[in-house]
């Protein structure tokens, strides 16, 4: 996994509440058996005026001129600003894959759905919870200033605005450690293989009906 330390980048808006993962990446693109290539279909139904098909080039598709991510001012954005309950719905990890593949490294919102929030950390994407008021002020500043950039420092757990304001955010220690160092969860867990085996051995005695049945 790629690491996340400091990010300075253009912020772009997804100015609505309850952005669901169907919206982030519609179902037809879930047929891919790869982890990459979802960026061109991020927010497909909002970004384009036609219906997207899997394995289709997006060159030449009609662009929705009213969708903010299509505005030149948000080109190259790496921080996405949104409203409450971002990432609700389906557990599809294709949602963070699509955001990442498009170029986003962080999403800032007043709240996130649990599964999406968790999936972000597995992919070097940092979800940041800030209060409604702060998110609101970030939206206003972003709309007012073209090229508006935010700086995110994970080690200090702060989001900094161009005006010099600094907002602290929470993140679990373990997730932060993995993200800062780009660590693979599986390798870390397997360091505790003995503890897993010991648990398993005990369970095999206590609850043998849990083992060797589906085979």
């Amino acid at each position: 996994m790629k690491s996340f330390t400091v990010l300075q980048g253009v912020a772009a808006p997804m100015d609505r509440a309850n952005v669901d993962t169907d919206m982030i990446i519609p179902k037809q693109f879930l047929k891919s058996i790869k982890r990459t290539g979802f960026g061109k279909n991020l927010f497909d139904e909002l970004r384009y005026l036609d219906e997207g098909k899997p394995d289709q080039s997006c060159e030449g598709r009609p662009i929705n001129p009213d969708f903010p991510l299509n505005f030149p001012r948000y080109k190259g954005a790496t921080v996405l600003l949104s409203r409450e309950n971002f990432g609700c719905g389906s557990s599809r990890e294709h949602a963070p894959w699509a955001l990442d593949d498009y170029g986003f490294r962080s999403v800032i919102a007043p709240s996130f759905a649990d599964i999406f929030y968790n999936n972000c950390f597995k992919n070097g994407l940092l979800p940041i919870v800030l209060s409604d008021e702060i998110v609101d002020s970030l939206f206003n500043e972003m709309y007012a200033a073209e090229g508006y950039q935010l700086t995110i420092e994970l080690s200090a757990q702060v989001v900094k605005t161009p005006g010099g304001e600094s907002f602290a955010f929470d993140v679990d220690e373990f997730r932060k450690h993995c993200l800062l160092n780009g660590l693979d969860d599986i390798g870390l867990t397997l360091e505790h293989a003995d503890a897993i085996r010991a648990y398993e051995a005990k369970k095999r005695v206590e609850a043998p009906w849990l083992f060797d049945v589906v085979k």
């Binding site: 669901d20 982890r35 719905g89 679990d172």
Partner: protein
């Protein structure tokens, strides 16, 4: 000893290692796998030279992509007309064969929707931890299990380590007492809960459904309710073990037998919340007040009773919510204050992991029996949740009732719930759907979903618009 909730007990029983920062390693008993969220996980295993930790913990079946017409199903995987879907289903077969995982393949009579197959085969049992790369895994919580959806990276993690890195959630009790009125179903109960607490109301919580309504409810009804915990924001929903649970599990293929059965039952009976256990949040509803529900918007919380009118955004004071309502009305092609019963439907879908079990199929059949689908309804499909449900329904002659009424009887799969196969809405069409999500485009590009119970969907198929099934004669 301190009183514990059902969730506390499930968590404690599966704790392998607690870390200082609150995160923990949790042991996973059952891992259910389908074709959409697993290929990248299998690839990850191969790349790292890893193998599944415990192959016997995994059960796989394709469901999201599989076609539901007999014509396409006749030739198995090779018969799937969509080449991209074909590759995905074939990839699951290849991966399961390579790693020695039990899979109910496309034309196996046990194939079906993961969350229908898990409980009905006894692969998912009370007291277990169950995960699957699908947010509706909470369905299995009806058994008194800790079950929730995970992402693909976690699918790979569970395969490689038999554990999940997790942080303990908070406890929420949804208490519904009283007695449900005639024609009011588990689907209406869960939609009413979502309407009350919102789609983020349960975020961060494990949700236990308690109270008389759930004690009186069948196992399949409890599955419908737990299935939609995620639509209320909660990863996991669950119901305490009681005699209904034990009776449901008894005799299922993978359930313990003989002496082991007695030992298992003694263990399972502990999986209830103790008297006086602490819940961080309690929400109460009166079951007697719940009416048949119909969603009008593009989020499962945008739901009202069939007696109501489409809400008016002008009455909403929160600007973000008002904006969402306006956008939803525009997308749905509806007017504020229009009666729900004035909404005409173009298609009807009876199926999905929420409502495709035998009791759902029976409820729909009872409504359409001896009647005919409205000619204005282009298509009404009934998609059983599994091969076992299909066989049972056919043994009861339910398929013939649907066909005689002008509905279609299909092969098992997820179908039009998420329209990854050929079953989908056309742009602008309204659908009475027994599925779980009414997001924009969910059932097809530009499609307009109305979430309802099987009986309400069946009644809409006959009437051509929403009607109150309680007075529909």
């Amino acid at each position: 000893m301190a009183a514990k909730t059902l969730y506390d007990k499930l968590w404690d029983a599966h704790l392998v290692q607690q870390r200082d920062d609150g995160s923990a390693l949790i042991y996973i008993d059952r891992h259910i796998v389908h074709e959409v969220t697993s290929p990248q996980a299998f690839d990850g295993l191969r790349l790292a030279g890893r193998k599944p930790w415990r192959v016997d913990s995994i059960l796989a079946t394709p469901d999201h992509n599989v076609p539901t017409t007999q014509k396409e199903r006749a030739h198995g995987v090779a018969g799937i007309e969509d080449p991209v879907s074909l590759i995905q289903v074939q990839t699951l077969d290849d991966n399961c064969d390579e790693f020695g995982i039990v899979e109910f393949k496309i034309n196996d009579h046990r194939q079906g929707i993961v969350h229908v197959v898990g409980p009905e085969t006894g692969a998912c049992l009370p007291g277990m931890t169950v995960v699957c790369g699908d947010s509706h895994t909470a369905t299995n919580g009806a058994l008194g299990a800790l079950a929730h959806g995970i992402g693909t990276s976690e699918v790979e993690h569970v395969m490689a380590t038999q554990c999940l890195v997790a942080k303990k959630m908070k406890n929420m009790l949804i208490k519904v007492d009283g007695k449900l009125g005639l024609g009011v179903t588990p689907k209406d109960v869960v939609l009413a809960i979502i309407a009350k607490i919102g789609t983020a109301g349960g975020t961060g919580y494990a949700m236990e459904f308690g109270g008389q309504v759930f004690r009186d409810m069948s196992m399949e009804g409890r599955m419908t309710v737990c299935n939609m915990a995620i639509e209320a924001g909660a990863r996991a929903g669950m119901v305490a073990v009681d005699q209904t649970t034990i009776d449901y599990v008894n005799g299922r293929t993978y359930a313990p037998k003989g002496d082991l059965w007695d030992r298992a039952v003694a263990d399972w009976r502990n999986y209830v919340s103790d008297d006086g256990a602490h819940f961080d949040a309690v929400v109460e509803l009166n079951g007697a007040e719940i009416k048949p529900q119909v969603s009008w918007g593009t989020s499962p919380e945008m739901v009202v009773s069939v007696e109501d009118k489409v809400p008016d955004p002008a009455q909403e004071t929160d600007p973000v919510k008002r904006e969402g309502m306006l956008r939803a009305l525009q997308y749905m092609g509806l007017q504020a204050n229009q009666p729900i019963t004035s909404i005409h439907v173009d298609r009807v879908f009876i199926g999905s992991c929420t409502n495709s079990r035998i009791e759902d199929i029976r409820a729909a059949a009872e409504v359409v029996k001896g009647r005919t689908k409205a000619s204005s309804v282009k298509e009404a499909i009934v998609v059983p949740g599994s091969g076992a449900v299909k066989a049972q329904a056919e043994a009861e002659g339910l398929d013939k009732i649907f066909i005689a009424a002008g509905l279609e009887w299909r092969e098992p799969g997820c179908s039009m719930c998420l329209a990854m196969n050929a079953d989908k809405l056309d742009n602008g069409e309204h659908c009475a759907s027994t599925s779980n999500r009414n997001f924009e485009g969910r059932q097809g590009y530009g499609g307009r979903t109305h979430l309802v119970s099987p009986a309400m969907a069946a009644a809409a198929a006959i009437a051509g618009h929403f009607v109150d099934v309680r007075t529909f004669n």
